[in-house]
């Protein structure tokens, strides 16, 4: 649902749900995910409803994502880094970290 105005930023290679994606240095994980695809970035643990980032400043907690195996991280508060693995969450997390 988002597009980059200019594509001249330094490329940072990450994966989103296993898919290789070229993000740009400085972007938040949430922004990179939204630039990659529109629609839900997670489903809620209460009812499985589709949600996506709302405030992008760390207040709404809608941007919860699994980053490098750690679930429930606020994607808007983390900048992309080379080799990062990002997964969209479905429902509640597991107690263990993802492998």
């Amino acid at each position: 649902m988002l597009r980059r105005r200019h594509n001249d930023g330094k490329v940072v290679k990450i994966t989103i749900d296993g898919e290789a994606v070229d993000a740009r240095a400085g972007e938040s994980v949430a922004a990179a995910v939204l630039a990659h695809a529109s629609g839900a970035t997670r489903t809620t643990p209460v009812s499985g409803a589709p949600r996506a980032p709302y405030c992008l400043m760390g207040v709404c907690f809608e941007c919860l994502m699994e980053i490098d195996g750690e679930p429930n991280r606020q994607g808007c508060m983390v900048r992309v880094e080379e080799g990062m693995t990002v997964r969209r969450q479905q429902g509640a997390r597991d107690m263990e970290r993802a492998s």
Partner: protein, 478 residues
């Protein structure tokens, strides 16, 4: 017990925090500034340094008011402040101890004074469909522009009211975005009527002039601006597909992939509430703000507040307040005499006054509409995290829940990850309407630490010193 390591711990590196840090260091205080973002600027000047150095093309779109923040960031770097970037504060004690975390380790910071400069957040806009993917705040769109140089793809509907609405529409147009409609809940004719008189009378008229100019530019770009709308809803099933609303006696719908909502900003009071500071209800703007005394002081000796977190007055007022509060703190610590304060403060007092003076006009022109404060449709979600509707809240009110805390106990409203940030104001309004009482009588959620979630590992690994704690089984024990 040894003396605290710092004179002041400043929480938040937005305009108030940065200005306060700079001023405090100038008068010889030992300062630490703690900010959850990894770069200074708060939200209003978010990533201004990075944009200035790496994305100058975005700088032009964002405008002069944004560029101004670069000076403050530069000033922060130049001062000898300890800057704990990327650190989230999760508990503040009235004694001046601040607990924060870098994501891996919990840290204890001891200071003689704590200055809360945590700023504002967007007022939640609970309309039907507001939780659908593709719906964001107008501020979020600005943050995407500032921190990532991104704009929403596809048609954008911008809905709400307030000076920021037109600003964001203007910025997006200049950034090449496709605006489907700008839909204002305020009625333009009303404020046009009011404006001529007030333009003359008020000092802060430049805000209004800018707004009128932006409006004209948007219309010239062929963008439809609809005023006096009501019954706003976001359409779509698993993502936003458009908006509908009533205007001029008929229902109108616009297709959109992105919907930006905005109904002004409100103070972020989580930290002040966690400190159990007294709060006052702002009748006209429908928000809570912490009670402050002279120059940002509070009922607690070690705690001060400056900036939008103390009441919405904008970035320039926040900067002035930050400086004044830093000087006031310095006075309280005996580092600056009152006479010196009276010599240094006038330019900042005047700046503060100038920017505060426009507020009554803005408040009168852009009041949040009642249907946003107290959503009429029972099915509208109020607590996004726990998926509690306005109807659920009304039912609990009938059951006797007198306020937000009993409501929390009944429904779990406010118990999700956002800890009541998104639903607090709406819950207070819905309960007030249901009970026929004022918001001030209804009250607000009690906020307890942690201010933001932190891992059990960090808590378990903390060294807290005081060893006299007993853990007991619920049955046996001492």
């Amino acid at each position: 017990m040894s003396a605290p390591e710092y004179d002041i711990a400043i929480i938040g590196a937005g305009p108030a925090g940065m200005a306060a840090a700079h001023e405090a260091v100038n008068v010889g205080l030992k300062v630490v500034i703690i900010d959850e973002q990894d770069a200074p600027g708060g939200q209003i000047y978010r990533d201004v340094e990075r944009v200035a150095m790496e994305r100058r093309h975005d700088l032009d779109v964002l405008g002069a008011d944004y560029k101004y923040g670069y000076g403050l960031v530069d000033g922060l770097h130049a001062s000898r402040v300890t800057h704990l970037a990327g650190h989230t504060v999760w508990q503040i004690e009235r004694s001046g101890t601040v607990w924060c975390s870098d994501g891996k380790k919990a840290k204890q910071i001891d200071a003689k004074r704590v200055l809360l400069a945590t700023g504002a957040m967007e007022r939640p806009v609970p309309v039907p469909g507001w939780t659908l993917p593709g719906v964001m705040t107008a501020g979020a769109a600005q943050i995407l522009m500032k921190s990532a140089g991104m704009v929403p793809d596809g048609p954008i509907a911008i809905c709400g009211s307030g000076p920021l609405l037109l600003l964001i529409a203007d910025q997006l147009v200049r950034a090449g975005a496709d605006i489907a409609v700008v839909a204002e809940t305020t009625s333009f004719t009303d404020y046009l009527r009011a404006a001529p008189h007030l333009l003359r009378a008020l000092k802060g008229a430049d805000y209004l002039r800018k707004g009128i100019a932006m409006r004209r530019r948007l219309k010239e770009s062929g963008i439809e601006i609809v005023s006096g709308i009501s019954g706003l809803r976001v359409d779509g099933s698993d993502k936003a597909q458009g908006v509908s609303f009533k205007a001029g006696g008929r229902t109108r719908s616009f297709e959109a992939e992105t919907v930006l909502l905005h109904q002004g900003v409100v103070p972020n009071t989580q930290a002040a509430r966690q400190l159990r500071l007294e709060h006052i209800w702002h009748e006209r703007q429908h928000y809570w703000y912490p009670k402050t005394g002279q120059n940002g002081s509070t009922e607690v000796e070690a705690i001060y507040i400056a900036g939008d977190g103390a009441g919405i007055n904008g970035a320039r007022a926040a900067e002035a307040a930050g400086r004044l509060t830093a000087l006031e703190i310095a006075c309280s610590l005996g580092e600056v005499s009152r006479a010196d304060f009276d010599l240094k403060s006038p330019p900042w007092l005047s700046e503060l006054d100038h920017h505060q003076s426009v507020r009554p006009l803005l408040d009168a022109l852009f009041p949040p509409p009642n249907e946003i404060l107290n959503p009429p449709d029972d099915a509208t979600l109020v607590c996004r995290c726990e998926e509690i509707t306005a109807g659920d809240v009304r039912k609990a009110a009938k059951l006797g829940a007198p306020g937000p805390n009993q409501l929390k106990a009944f429904l779990r409203a406010g118990m999700g990850p956002c800890q009541g940030r998104m639903c607090g104001l709406t819950v207070t309004e819905v309960l007030a309407a249901a009970h026929g009482k004022s918001a001030a009588e209804i009250g607000a959620y009690r906020i307890r630490p942690p201010l933001k979630p932190l891992s059990l590992a960090e808590l378990a690994d903390m060294e807290t010193g005081d060893g006299d704690v007993t853990l007991a089984s619920p049955s046996s024990g001492p």
